[in-house]
Symmetry: C3
Subunit: 155 residues, 3 copies
């Protein structure tokens, strides 16, 4: 088992089977030493488990859990692509979209569910750049959508 997956296990997480793409695209593309994922939703066992608007239907803590699940799903997609998460040399970027009720402005707190998780898992290599924005609607009424850019070692 890889180092990163050992660490995930210690953190009480397990990589799910990677969710299917919701549309005619693929979950990851590699270009040079970069892998970019498609936008990931808070899906568990094929169901979106956090739906609705943060700040109305959901508390920001729920949004934060949702962001964490999106991120785990992104990692499961990356593993399906490169076989071993230990090849990740840097989390380059987290792109976060929060399905936001009018007046909800704590998108950073929601995305910390992704960011804290990545730093806990990867340490220094997990420190990433990020944008976090609110949007009025997301696919399938998901609460959060997260995409990752990661840098991987040469094959």
């Amino acid at each position: 088992m890889s180092w990163v997956e050992e660490r995930l296990k210690e953190m009480g997480e397990i990589l799910p089977r990677p969710p299917a793409a919701v549309g005619s695209y693929v979950p990851t593309v590699r270009t040079g030493n970069l892998i970019v994922t498609s936008g990931q939703l808070p899906v568990l066992a094929r169901e979106i488990i956090f739906r609705g608007k943060v700040g109305k239907d959901l508390h920001e803590v729920d949004g934060s859990h949702a962001a964490r699940i999106c991120t785990i799903n992104a990692l499961s997609q990356i593993k399906a692509s490169i076989g071993d998460l230990d090849k990740i040399t840097r989390i380059v970027r987290v792109e976060g979209f929060v399905n936001s009720a009018d007046g909800f402005t704590n998108q950073p707190k929601v995305l910390n569910g992704a960011s804290d998780f990545l730093v806990e898992l990867f340490g220094e290599a997990g420190k990433h750049s990020r944008f976090a924005v609110g949007v009025n609607e997301l696919p399938l009424d998901a609460a959060v959508e997260v995409a990752l850019w990661v840098q991987v070692s040469d094959d």
Copy 2:
């Protein structure tokens, strides 16, 4: 004529004259083997032909047509930059923003207008990562905005 343009012709499409940028920026930038386009709107002959919110003013099928037109415009910008679309070795990423009515959550269907087109045109090399999100407003009230990242061969 390039292979990709032959294929476009078979698909009943023709590359338009690339739309002008709506602001003080440029349509594409190359960095290494990547070209990133600016956000493209559903413009035809200098007019935005799909305006308003998908799910209220427009059906999602219209949104899908709009996404296809944005994507063709992005390709016309890339051609203006590199001269020949056959130099594209991979569509890396589609970034899609859908001007969404409250309650409209089928952004993936809208963006399939871009994704299906790219896969039909480029085959395996057209398979891309993607994010699709809803937003409450877009420039000039466009229904969709699409940006592309593509990988090109060395000169």
Copy 3:
């Protein structure tokens, strides 16, 4: 003093101390010759100075000032990372999110506050690709959020 900072001074601007990240991430990441910044808010002396929705609480000219401040903050983050802005060989991309009132569709005008500034400062190297979209909410009720991708020279 670097050439770019001389030019900034001529333009009447000064690089601020880089704003702290609003969350558990870092302001910039370098991958290869690219630096990507986190989303920057219109912060001056630790305060967000343009809050609310463009088109309702704020005029688009205010939004444009806000976009300029976000961009200066992004440059201050890049300087903190690479030490000298003269190492920037190209502004690759501006990503702009505008906190938009219903019916406000002039996001390009708002982002021109970023784009005009970059072209004035860097000349040809400042010409960038861009997306500009509206969103219904942004962190801390900021009027605009801007992220940059820049290309830098080899060390």
